[in-house]
C-alpha cells in the first residue's frame, strides 16, 4: 500500500471545508503552544536581544567556541568510522567463515557489543585508559569516545557487511568456485568489490549515528565537542542557555541532514546504476534506533500522498 491516498476519498466540497476547519484548529493549537513557550522564555528574559545577538555580531562565539568544538566532534566521528570500518569488515567476514572457531567468536563479539549501550563502552574505555595507560588527561576523553564508538560501530558495520555480501546471488559464489578461486580470492575479487557499493548508503547513515553519539562524550566525559560548548557559551555570554542550545542543535541537524541526504542520493544513484547483482543495503531504521533510514522508494520521506481516487 505505497500510495497512501487510498486511506481517504478525494475530498469533495464538504470534506474540503472540514479539512480547512481541522487546519485552522491545528494551527490555533500549535500557535498556542508556541506562544506559551515564547511567553515563558520572555518571562525568564531568554528572548532578550543580547542573549541571541552574539551569534550574529560577535565572531568570537564562532571562532573560540563553536567551530573548534564542531571540529572536535567531526574529528572524533571521522576517527571512529575510519578505525571501525576495517575492524567491522574483518568481523563481518569472520562471521561468515567456514571454520567454527572463527565464526563463533566473531558472532559473540558482534552480538555482545551491539547489546551494550555505547555510553557504557565509553565510560569503560575511559576507566581502562586511566588505570592502565599514561595518556594525558587532555587527550583521554577523545581516546575514550573514539574507543567506545569504534567498539559499538564495528559490530554494527560487521552486520552491514554481512548483509551486503549475503545479498549477492548465490551464482556469484558458485561461479568463483567453478573457476577454481580460493576462498580469499573469492572474497577479495568477487564478493567484496560488488557489495561495497551496495553498503555505501548504510555506511553513510551510520556516520549520522556516530556524529550523534559523540555528544555523549561531551556530557559524560568532558570531551570538548559541540554540545559541551553550550555550557561554555552560556557561561561567557550571560546565561543564554536556550539560544546556545538552539544554535548547537541547528548545527547538528543541518550536519546530519546533509549526511542523510547524501545516503539517500547514494542509494538512488546505485539503484539506478545497478552494476552489481545484489540488493542495496540500507540501514534498517528500526534495527538501530540511532540510525537513519535511507528512505525506501516506497515511502519517500516528505512526499505528501497525492489523492488519486476519483470516486
Amino acid at each position: 500500500m505505497s500510495n497512501l491516498s487510498v486511506l481517504y476519498d478525494a475530498p469533495g466540497p464538504k470534506a474540503k471545508a472540514r479539512n480547512v476547519v481541522y487546519t485552522v484548529l491545528f494551527l490555533v493549537g500549535f500557535a498556542a503552544l508556541v506562544w506559551w513557550v515564547l511567553a515563558a522564555m520572555a518571562d525568564k528574559g531568554q528572548l532578550d536581544a543580547d542573549k541571541w545577538s552574539p551569534f550574529v555580531t560577535d565572531s568570537r562565539v564562532w571562532t573560540t567556541f563553536l567551530l573548534p568544538a564542531l571540529g572536535n566532534t567531526l574529528k572524533a566521528a571521522a576517527l571512529s568510522i575510519i578505525i571501525a570500518l576495517p575492524l567491522g569488515a574483518a568481523l563481518g567476514i569472520g562471521r561468515m567463515s567456514d571454520h567454527r572457531w572463527v565464526r563463533l567468536p566473531c558472532a559473540a563479539i558482534i552480538e555482545f557489543f551491539r547489546a551494550i549501550p555505547v555510553l557504557l563502552l565509553m565510560l569503560f574505555a575511559s576507566a581502562v585508559y586511566v588505570e592502565f595507560t599514561n595518556i594525558n588527561s587532555d587527550m583521554r576523553p577523545l581516546y575514550a569516545v573514539v574507543t567506545g564508538l569504534v567498539l559499538y560501530n564495528a559490530s554494527v558495520i560487521a552486520e552491514v557487511v554481512r548483509a551486503g555480501i549475503l545479498s549477492l546471488p548465490r551464482g556469484q559464489k558458485d561461479a568463483a568456485q567453478a573457476i577454481g578461486m580460493r576462498k580469499g580470492q573469492m572474497m577479495t575479487q568477487v564478493l567484496l568489490p560488488q557489495s561495497v557499493t551496495l553498503m555505501l548508503p548504510a555506511l553513510v547513515s551510520q556516520l549520522v549515528v556516530v556524529v550523534k553519539d559523540t555528544a555523549l562524550g561531551g556530557v559524560m566525559l568532558n570531551f570538548d565537542e559541540l554540545l559541551r560548548s553550550v555550557r561554555t557559551i552560556s557561561a561567557n555570554y550571560g546565561a543564554n542557555t536556550i539560544a546556545a542550545f538552539t544554535v548547537v542543535a541547528l548545527i547538528f541537524i543541518v550536519l546530519n541532514f546533509l549526511l542523510t541526504s547524501a545516503a539517500t542520493w547514494l542509494e538512488r544513484t546505485i539503484r539506478r546504476g545497478k552494476r552489481t547483482a545484489g540488493a542495496v543495503v540500507t540501514a534498517d531504521p528500526h534495527d538501530q534506533m540511532e540510525a537513519q533510514p535511507a528512505a525506501a522508494p516506497a515511502a519517500e520521506a516528505g512526499d505528501p500522498p497525492t489523492p488519486t481516487g476519483k470516486d
Partner: protein, 223 residues
C-alpha cells in the same frame, strides 16, 4: 574478588530498576505519541502531514543527548518547568522520560508508517467502499493490521530505547550508567564492574528481543 560489590553502598538493583522504569514509561509514551504522529503523516489534512514529517526529520537528526540535556538545562533550569515533580530526583526522572519519549516517538512513527505500507491496498479500498471515514479506516482496518506487522521493528526500537536510557545519566538520573561511572571511579575493578553492567543490559535486552520475536511470529497477519 567481589568484595567491591558493596550493595549497601552501591544500589545495583535499584539502578537497574530505574533503567527499567525509564524504558517502560518512555515506551508507553512514545507508542502513543508515535501513533498520533503516524496518523498525522498519512492524514488528509496537508498541514498535519507537514508537521508530522517535519517533527520526524528534525528529531531524528538531533542527538538524544541534546534533547535530554535541553529538558534539564532549558525546560527545567531556565524556564522552570518541573513536570509536577517535588524533588530533584522526581523532576529529573520525569524530564528524562519526556526527552526519551519525544525522541523515540519519531522512530515509532517511522516503523508504524512502514507497517501501514505493508497493508494491502484492497483493505483500505474495501473499508472506504463501506463508507468508513478516514479515522475509521485507520482505527478499525489499517492500524490493527499495521501494528501486527511491525512488532519485530518495534521490538528493536524498544531495545534501542532500553540502551538509550543510559543517556539520562547526563542529567543525573540515578540509573545504571551513572552508578557504573561512580563505581568505576571509586573501585579498582574496572573489568569486573564493566562486566556486571554489560551483563545487566544483556539480561534486560535479550529476553525482550526473544519474547517479542516470538510474539511477532504469532500475531503476523498470514497472507
Amino acid at each position: 574478588m567481589f568484595d567491591f560489590l558493596d550493595l549497601q553502598r552501591y544500589d545495583l538493583f535499584g539502578a537497574f530498576w530505574v533503567t527499567a522504569q525509564l524504558a517502560v514509561f518512555s515506551a508507553i509514551g512514545s507508542l502513543i505519541l508515535g501513533t498520533i504522529l503516524a496518523g498525522m503523516r498519512v492524514s488528509p489534512v496537508p498541514l498535519m502531514r507537514v508537521f508530522g514529517t517535519g517533527y520526524v526529520n528534525i528529531v531524528r537528526n538531533t542527538p538524544l543527548t541534546v534533547i535530554i540535556l535541553f529538558t534539564s538545562l532549558g525546560l527545567f533550569q531556565t524556564l522552570g518547568i518541573a513536570m509536577g515533580g517535588d524533588t530533584f530526583t522526581e523532576t529529573n526522572f520525569r524530564l528524562a522520560v519526556l526527552g526519551l519519549t519525544a525522541y523515540t516517538a519519531a522512530f515509532v512513527c517511522e516503523a508504524l508508517r512502514s507497517g501501514i505500507n505493508t497493508v494491502p491496498v484492497g483493505q483500505a479500498e474495501a473499508a472506504r467502499a463501506l463508507g468508513l471515514s478516514f479515522t475509521q479506516v485507520l482505527r478499525l482496518v489499517v492500524l490493527p493490521q499495521a501494528f501486527r506487522s511491525v512488532v519485530a521493528p518495534l521490538a528493536n526500537v524498544l531495545i534501542a530505547l532500553t540502551k538509550n536510557t543510559t543517556v539520562a545519566a547526563a542529567i543525573g538520573v540515578a540509573e545504571a550508567a551513572l552508578l557504573m561511572k561512580t563505581m568505576i571511579e571509586n573501585e579498582a575493578q574496572v573489568f569486573l564492574i564493566g562486566g556486571i553492567f554489560a551483563l545487566g543490559f544483556i539480561l534486560l535486552t535479550l529476553p525482550t528481543g526473544l519474547l517479542l520475536g516470538w510474539v511477532s511470529k504469532r500475531v503476523a497477519v498470514k497472507r
